[in-house]
Symmetry: C2
């Protein structure tokens, strides 16, 4: 009974991620679903609503994940490893929706746009808290925590640009590789000679 609405959202995720929100027409979605455009509006109210549903579902998954990590795990290094794993798992499990979340959110209309930005900041704060923990434990060392968080998230999010389900790395392998890379940049060092 709620089959069709789920199918419509899934189709929207696929088409929005492939061609972008603006370049995808309701006619494209209807054609993929094998129904008429007008019939879509028995299940949803507007094209904007489709974008909102997709963006906020993924936002909720990210938020839930980072809170879980910050509530449960103790050691900062272990927290970071867990946060990266959960992030990569969300992205790889839900690749189309994640692409929409990352690249199409700017087409959200107010007031949803502002709500969305708030959730993004909340997520970044969760990562920042892990770095602060690491500093207090004397295992991490970061000149600029905001800068570090953005660099970390950039590496995690760029996965959407090259990840293929049929690739030769599992999500956890990708996550662990990235975590090692990140940790080597964060850990307290005795000697770093550069420049």
């Amino acid at each position: 009974m709620s089959r069709r609405i789920d199918s419509i959202i899934q189709t929207a995720e696929k088409l929005f991620s492939e061609n972008g929100f603006v370049a995808t027409s309701m006619r494209d979605i209807a054609r993929s679903e094998g129904i008429e455009v007008a019939s879509l509006y028995s299940h949803i109210n507007s094209k904007d609503e489709l974008l909102e549903k997709i963006c906020f579902r993924i936002a909720d998954e990210f938020i839930t994940a980072i809170h879980e990590v910050n509530d449960i795990y103790f050691n900062a290094e272990e927290k970071l490893r867990m946060a990266v794993r959960l992030h990569v798992n969300i992205i790889t499990r839900d690749l189309d929706a994640s692409k929409v979340f990352l690249k199409e959110w700017r087409h959200l209309k107010e007031p949803r746009l502002s709500e969305f930005k708030k959730l993004r900041h909340e997520y970044e704060d969760g990562f920042r808290r892990i770095l602060i923990n690491g500093e207090n434990e004397n295992v991490f060392e970061t000149h600029d925590k905001k800068f570090a968080v953005l660099t970390i998230l950039s590496a995690l999010n760029w996965i959407t640009e090259w990840y293929r389900t049929d690739g030769n790395m599992t999500p956890d392998e990708i996550a662990d590789h990235l975590t090692d890379f990140i940790l080597s940049g964060l850990k307290v060092k005795s000697s770093v000679e550069s420049k």
Copy 2:
């Protein structure tokens, strides 16, 4: 005499980067220029052509930079530092165009789309060559060079998401921070305990 065409392209860079290629209409561009839509077509042939001009100009800058680095500088660490600096400089100097280059290229039409992808691969190859040099010099260590290149470029490209001209870091400072971060992940290590 070629003032207007330059102004049109600059306006297109700004609007495409702010609202996306598809969501920007030729009427929007004309309004910004203070002329009628039809008048735009005395200077350009199509909306697609505007996107092409922007994407390929930035692509050329990246390609020129990486070839320069790979032709001139000898030491792998120094090459990496230079490549990152040039990359960050292009992005920060030409922020709007770089955003279009990074986020709107998929709206290019064939055969230009394929040409564009080729240039991107060429650029990635340039970075990969630096990592190979580093391995031969026994200063870098990478399990998966393709993975490493994508991670590095992701960190470099994500700059467009948060960089502000009025921020408190100069492009070279950003580049050096990032290079240090990257180098700590690439360098040969005696002891790494993780997991």
